[in-house]
Amino acid sequence: MARTRFTIALAAALVFSSTAPQAHQFHAGITDIGFNQKTGSTEIVHTYMTHDVEALLGELYQRQFDLSRPEDEAILRKYVEKQFFILGPDQRRLPIHWVGLEVNVDSVTIYQEIEDTPLSQAARIHQDVLSDFIADQANTINIKQGGAIRTLSFDHKSADQNLR
């Protein structure tokens, strides 16, 4: 339900932004986290705007990136793993495995998973991907737990949030 509402809000935002010349570019990222019962793993999918990711990497390394190259993907991975992590109840980081990414002209989709770990193990999320770089970056995390979807909003000032 929450997700549906979010979708509508986002759709409204994009209709507005694409019909009027923007005063500001909208900087957003969405992360969906859910438990896959078939595999027993918690799966994480991030979607960021390609433009923002390219600017980020460009300003970090002053060069262009080709994310189809494994060595360039590794650079983005290093950054994401530093900026996004999940703590367990013992305040230790859950081992998030990098699955891969997809890039198109508009968005970069990153797949991660925490193998053999239910979502109930997650106590706290740190999400500061792009928000350390773009002041008005708004990151949304949708957590699918049971039948419900819980939505959390992150920015640079609130990069850490408890799940419990």
């Binding site: 694409s18 262009q64 190259r69």
Partner: protein
């Protein structure tokens, strides 16, 4: 992996107005299919472009200055010892050692004005390729942000603040070539420490070996992102070398001189460069600021002999042109992102302040020992440039860039002769306008207009007596205006092919020409150039790319002079064809054919150089993610072409009279270099 998906489509739709953000005009799109970044909607002319680190790494470069040949139509050559500034050719110019090609490394000017040997002296031997993250080039005087020497073009090399991978490399090659370099960027405190050290030795194919040896280092501390942070850099370079200067064709034809022989084996030089610089940038949603400061100490000792025994049959004509200088400067700019009446508008204002404190001279020498002082000068040259540039996107298919630049130069020369001492100043305003139409069907159209300039040697602005002959001479203006206009198109309508075509005209009020006997550049006649450039980058497969560039220019002096209207050395046709293979399993490689067309060597075009054709290649094999071996080959077809040709009078020892002749520097014979690259 099946799972709930986010809203990629919604995000994608949000981007339908995603323009190049003016707070960061240099940032390009991520390379979705590994192709070169598209310049559609980004560049302000058809001739501008960016070359990224991977593409720079794939090039075979005999010398660091050749990295600039990634600019379509630009030829980098050498007429002397390896430590000397290169010879550049672009857009119908013989740019000598860098006149009219503005080069910067991390916003520090490389061109040295009022240089002892040549105006705009561009010594790029301190460039460490492993640190070069990108090369941005523009051609023509269409940007208010570029100042002195940018009329033919400008090339900006950016060093990385941090490396994606640390690197250590060892190379050995024929002709006494050896190189080792290390570059790494560990985290330090809140930031990153970048360090690099390079050692090079090279003899070249010459009978009297260059014995070029250099030590080169960079140390940089940076914090934050490039657009929201700062960096402080120290660079140090020193080198010494022997020169095999150009030799007369008649002696080679007669068999008295070998192709790789030197006439005066005591020619050569030594160079040192030290710099300290800092960059600070702040980028917010509605504005961006940038300040960079630098102080550079350059020292050059240079001994040349181009005419042998023409002027002095006893001691020979060797001359020395020492140059010691401290260059300091500040560049600052601020950008406002404005939205008047719903338009996207970026307003950039900036200033460039530069001071050079120069001690240089022209001495007669023999075996590097001073015989007499022709002139010795202390030059203080100070310039202030102010610019304003307005970028407006009027609609989805029309944008403009309008700029105005004002420059003020002050020259203060104290020469050995009081008649050649004094002060002068010069001012110039340079407007520019760029109209960009499109994209329609992945095609942009450009109309560019602009005024640019180059400064003349400060000494020329106050010199009234030729110090050698004692004859009176006229002073030259401090600044010389250029006018350019260009029609361009850039298209990606053919899948996987990026094509651009430019037609341009460039006028100069006065041409800088090389005076072989004095070994300097002189302010010369007014000129006009027409040219066409056609550049193609085709990436049919993930592992294969093809570059095909052609450029042709017609350059003539605009005044009437019975000696003729051709411009000596002005390049006419240039072409390159390059095949690059990358990510083909463990293999990579490149093959590049460069055509450097014939040039008129004298005003009446009765003597012309031949074309030269160079085929270079490299093959790389990656043993593991972190270990690679490369074999590079230069002048694969082993052609006996010239790297450069001049036509002037010279006299060899034993000759009774001067001879007008072609003097050439040979292209290096085929040579191989083997390199081991370790990353970590």
């Amino acid at each position: 992996m099946t799972m709930l998906r986010p809203l990629p489509c919604a995000l994608a739709a949000l981007l339908c107005h995603a323009n190049c953000r003016a707070d960061d005009p240099v940032i390009q799109r991520i390379l979705v299919e590994g192709a070169r970044a598209s310049q559609l909607g980004v560049a302000d002319s058809a001739n501008a472009g960016t070359v990224n680190q991977n593409q720079l790494e794939m090039r075979t470069v005999y010398r660091p200055g050749e990295l600039l040949e990634a600019t379509p139509g630009l030829v980098v050559s050498q007429h002397s010892g390896e430590g000397k500034a290169n010879q550049f050719y672009l857009r119908g110019f013989n740019l000598d050692h860098g006149t009219d090609l503005r080069t910067t490394v991390d916003d520090m000017p490389v061109n040295q004005r009022s240089h002892a040997h040549g105006q705009g002296w561009t010594d790029l031997n301190f460039l460490i390729p492993e640190l070069a993250a990108r090369l941005d080039y523009k051609k023509g005087p269409y940007s208010a942000q570029e100042g002195d020497f940018a009329s033919a073009g400008s090339a900006a090399v950016t060093y990385a603040n941090r490396l994606t991978k640390n690197v250590a490399t060892v190379s050995v090659g024929q002709n006494g070539y050896a190189r080792t370099a290390i570059a790494a960027s560990p985290d330090l405190g809140r930031g990153t420490l970048l360090y690099a050290l390079e050692l090079v030795h090279n003899d070249g194919p010459f009978t009297h070996p260059d014995d070029y040896s250099k030590v080169n280092g960079v140390l940089r501390y940076s914090e934050g992102y490039a657009n929201n942070g700062f960096s402080i850099s120290a660079m140090a370079y020193r080198a010494k070398w022997n020169s095999t200067d150009q030799i007369p064709e008649r002696a080679v034809d007669a068999g008295t001189l070998g192709r790789y022989d030197a006439v005066d084996p005591s020619d050569g030089g030594a160079s040192r460069r030290l710099s300290l610089s800092g960059v600070w940038r702040r980028t917010a949603t509605d504005s961006a600021s940038k300040v960079n400061v630098y102080i550079i100490r350059n020292q050059l000792e240079l001994f040349s002999n181009f005419t042998y025994f023409l002027d002095d049959p006893v001691n020979g004509d060797q001359f020395s042109q020492p140059d010691r200088r401290v260059t300091s400067g500040v560049n600052a700019s601020h950008t406002w992102h404005l939205h008047p009446a719903g338009l996207e508008n970026d307003l950039v204002v900036g200033t460039q302040l530069q001071n050079d404190n120069i001690f240089n001279g022209l001495y007669s020498t023999r075996d590097r020992q001073v015989l007499s002082v022709t002139r010795a000068d202390h030059v203080v040259e100070t310039s202030l440039g102010l610019f304003v540039e307005n970028h407006t996107r009027w609609s989805d298919t029309f944008r403009t860039v309008a700029g105005l630049r004002a420059d003020d130069y002050r020259f203060d020369v104290r020469s050995t002769l009081p008649e050649n001492s004094g002060r002068s100043n010069a001012r110039l305003a340079s407007p520019s306008l760029n109209l960009i139409f499109g994209p329609w069907a992945l095609t942009d159209f450009y109309l560019n207009f602009g005024d640019g300039f180059h400064s003349n040697d400060a000494r020329g602005t106050v010199t009234t007596v030729d110090p050698k002959s004692g004859q009176p001479v006229g002073t030259v203006p401090g600044l010389v205006r250029s006018h350019g206009m260009e029609l361009g198109v850039r298209t990606e309508i053919v899948p996987k092919l990026q094509t651009s075509l430019s037609l341009y005209r460039l006028d100069f009020d006065s041409e800088l020409t090389f005076a072989g006997d004095a070994g300097t550049t002189e302010a010369g006649r007014p000129s006009r150039r027409y040219g066409v450039e056609f550049s193609n980058y085709y990436k049919p497969l993930k592992w294969l790319s093809v570059d095909a560039d052609l450029a042709f220019a017609r350059a003539r002096s605009r005044d009437d002079d019975p000696v003729g209207n051709y411009i000596p050395g002005a390049v006419e046709g240039v072409g390159q064809l390059a095949l690059t293979v990358d990510q083909l399993g463990a293999w990579s490689g490149a093959l590049r054919l460069r055509y450097f067309g014939p040039r008129p060597l004298i005003e009446d075009n009765s003597v012309r150089s031949k074309a030269s054709l160079t085929l270079n290649g490299r093959i790389g094999y990656r043993f593991s993610r972190d270990l690679q071996v490369e074999l590079e080959a230069f002048n694969l077809s082993n052609r006996r072409d010239s790297a450069i040709d001049y036509y002037y009078a010279s006299q060899l020892q034993g000759e009774s009279a001067p001879h007008m002749d072609i003097h050439f520097h040979p292209l290096e014979a085929r040579s191989l270099r083997l390199t081991l690259v370790k990353n970590w």
